[in-house]
């Protein structure tokens, strides 16, 4: 029988890094990074549950975390670092009976794309209207990026986050480098 050795490795293990399309980092129109230490929670609530968005909003406000609405009754909560255990327990308690919390830190990867050319570049991947009055800072939406489903968030005018299934992260990373090449792109994860 064939022996299969399973080994754990980070989602962006072996990802391409460095400068592409330019030799000078100061002229890069795009910067590509990843936030690999994030805690990512998925929140799912049944139809008819009320007040979940408000409770989540209050919690992310207090924790300095981010809220990414992923569809009716469905959110992602992203934290740059692991939130205190008591705080997570409190969140789970306040949502009791209205929503379930699932740790997705292992299952999703946060890729960050920024720079003066970022909307031009992202427009190659998604059909979302990225003009600032249509997709303002703080807005987040699930969309198709190339052929990959992902959650796109505008953090600030020239700063975006793409939350993607970890098994697709490397493929998306490579596509982003190709898309960014014409603007000069600096990638490091």
């Amino acid at each position: 029988m064939l022996e299969v050795q399973l080994s754990a490795k980070p989602a962006l293990f072996g990802a391409a890094e460095g400068l592409f399309g330019t030799k000078d980092a100061s002229t890069a129109g795009i910067v590509l990074t990843a936030s690999t230490q994030s805690t990512i929670l998925q929140v799912l609530s049944p139809p008819g549950a009320t007040g979940v968005a408000e409770k989540l909003q209050a919690w992310v406000g207090a924790e300095g975390a981010g809220l990414r609405p992923n569809g009716p009754g469905n959110w992602f909560v992203v934290c740059d670092a692991q939130p205190p255990r008591e705080s997570l327990e409190a969140l789970s308690k306040t949502l009791e009976g209205r929503a379930e919390l699932l740790d997705q830190s292992h299952g999703r990867t946060r890729i960050k794309v920024s720079g003066p050319k970022v909307t031009q570049m992202l427009a190659k991947g998604t059909a979302i209207d990225l003009r600032e009055h249509q997709f303002a800072p703080g807005q987040s939406a699930p969309t198709l990026f190339g052929h990959i489903s992902a959650q796109l968030t505008r953090v600030s005018p020239e700063n975006f986050e793409i939350l993607v299934l970890s098994s697709f992260a490397l493929s998306l990373w490579d596509s982003l480098i190709v898309m960014g090449r014409e603007f000069g792109i600096q990638a490091h994860c």
Binding site: G71, N74, D129, A141, P142, L144
Partner: protein, 87 residues
Amino acid sequence: MASLITCPHCGVRPKEEFTIRGDASVTRPSPEADGEVWHAYVHLRDNPRGLHKEYWHHTSGCRRWLVVTRDTVSHDVIDVSDAGALA
């Protein structure tokens, strides 16, 4: 084919984000219904010229089932609503 669908949850999106299941006007028969009725429900479809009501799934967005009413001649999308409202 209509190329832009206004999802009630996500806003305007291209058809590539959706999966089309088909006719939303047929009603599932009872499990006891006879073979002819089931045959009609599963296999027989009209190919309307003009208004058509279909189930579309927002696969790469909110993952909700929607009911899209569109015109097969002009490609106009007349209405998009969450299928949960029909159930």
